[in-house]
């Protein structure tokens, strides 16, 4: 075949077929979807992101969250597994309580970019705002996921938080975490045996008072190594006295975005499964 033009036209035609079929037609088909409103008194669904959640989406994008977390709930027909009786079952996403129903195209009407995701190294987040509505939980988890789930391999995000000296009262936004998580934000702190000996020598009485304040029924025999270690374990779970960890603007925005992820909440006529 000696003609460039033949190759060019062939390449053009074969490729336009997929361009028309996979891009232009879906664009036409999906381009005119409207929000769903069951009755005039209901708010239309979905709603665009509001307030700082918009900035939170930027944080989610910038840090590549979607490379481990998908945002889609698959239908009851997807995901085959075998129960204890050896019977084949499907629909794992919904049974894992990742959403009450499958997600459909209308759920993503205002998403830009639409981060459906292709990996589930971590759990699906399409519906995380409904599944776990506690902002404080998300903050403690983001600071160091191991503080919530010891087995987690998610990165810590200490740069979304700042550790600051408490001036006056502890902030309302301060994270409720023991000192093991807050001394080195993002890591888990534990003094070496020598450091602990030193701490006990210098501030032993204060430390014991602090621990007993939160665990009044406990007794510690500080003459034994075992008792000292037990005191350390308790002490590490008590909050620092002088320092607190508060979210930065990015941290607050990201959690606002996570809480706004409420797909698969409102029933839609086209998503029965």
């Amino acid at each position: 075949m000696d003609r460039g033009m033949v190759i060019f036209l062939g390449a053009l035609f074969t490729f336009s077929s997929s361009w028309l079929g996979l891009i232009v037609f879906p664009f036409q088909q999906l381009g005119h979807e409207q929000p769903y409103q069951k009755s005039d008194s209901d708010d239309p669904y979905p709603q665009p992101l509001q307030g700082i959640a918009v900035a939170g989406k930027r944080v989610y994008q910038a840090n590549g969250c979607m490379y481990c977390h998908s945002q889609q709930v698959r239908s009851q027909r997807f995901g085959n597994w075998w129960d204890d009786n050896g019977e084949e079952r499907t629909g794992a996403d919904i049974k894992r309580s990742w959403g009450l129903r499958r997600t459909v195209s209308r759920d993503y009407l205002y998403d830009n970019p639409t981060m459906l995701g292709t990996m589930r190294t971590g759990p699906d987040l399409a519906n995380i705002g409904v599944r776990n509505p506690s902002a404080m939980w998300h903050h403690t988890h983001l600071l160091n996921p191991r503080s919530a789930n010891p087995w987690s391999i998610m990165p810590s995000f200490p740069y979304l938080y700042k550790r600051e000296k408490i001036v006056g009262d502890r902030s309302e936004k301060a994270l409720l975490l023991g000192r093991e998580w807050t001394v080195h934000p993002g890591y888990r702190w534990r003094p070496t045996p020598q450091q602990w000996d030193e701490l006990l020598r210098e501030r032993g009485a204060t430390i014991l008072r602090q621990v007993l304040a939160s665990a009044p029924t406990e007794t510690f025999d500080l003459t034994t190594a075992d008792g000292q270690k037990r005191l350390l374990d308790f002490w590490l779970t008590t909050p620092e006295e002088d320092y607190q960890i508060v979210p930065t603007a990015d941290g607050e925005a990201l959690v606002a975005y996570l809480l706004a992820l409420r797909k698969a909440e409102v029933p839609l006529p086209e998503a029965k499964e």
Binding site: M1, G21, F25
Partner: protein, 68 residues
């Protein structure tokens, strides 16, 4: 399937047939006009007098026993 979906499906299948058909027609034309004649020559076009068929042209740098 709604009517819209059927219409879309028909359009997609139709376009596949159309473009696929165009490709087949182009192939047919190419055959008839002799574009595919003398394949042998085509396959041999990358060889020349300096690097003729039957001569290998690459080896590890220190394996000189393969060289002339």
């Amino acid at each position: 399937m709604t009517a819209v979906e059927i219409a879309l499906f028909a359009t997609v299948i139709g376009s596949m047939v159309l473009f696929g058909g165009a490709a087949v027609l182009a192939l047919g034309w190419a055959f008839r006009s002799g574009q595919f004649d003398n394949f042998d020559r085509g396959a041999k076009s990358i060889f020349g007098p300096d690097e003729p068929i039957g001569e290998a042209t690459d080896g590890f740098p220190d394996m000189n026993h393969e060289r002339k």
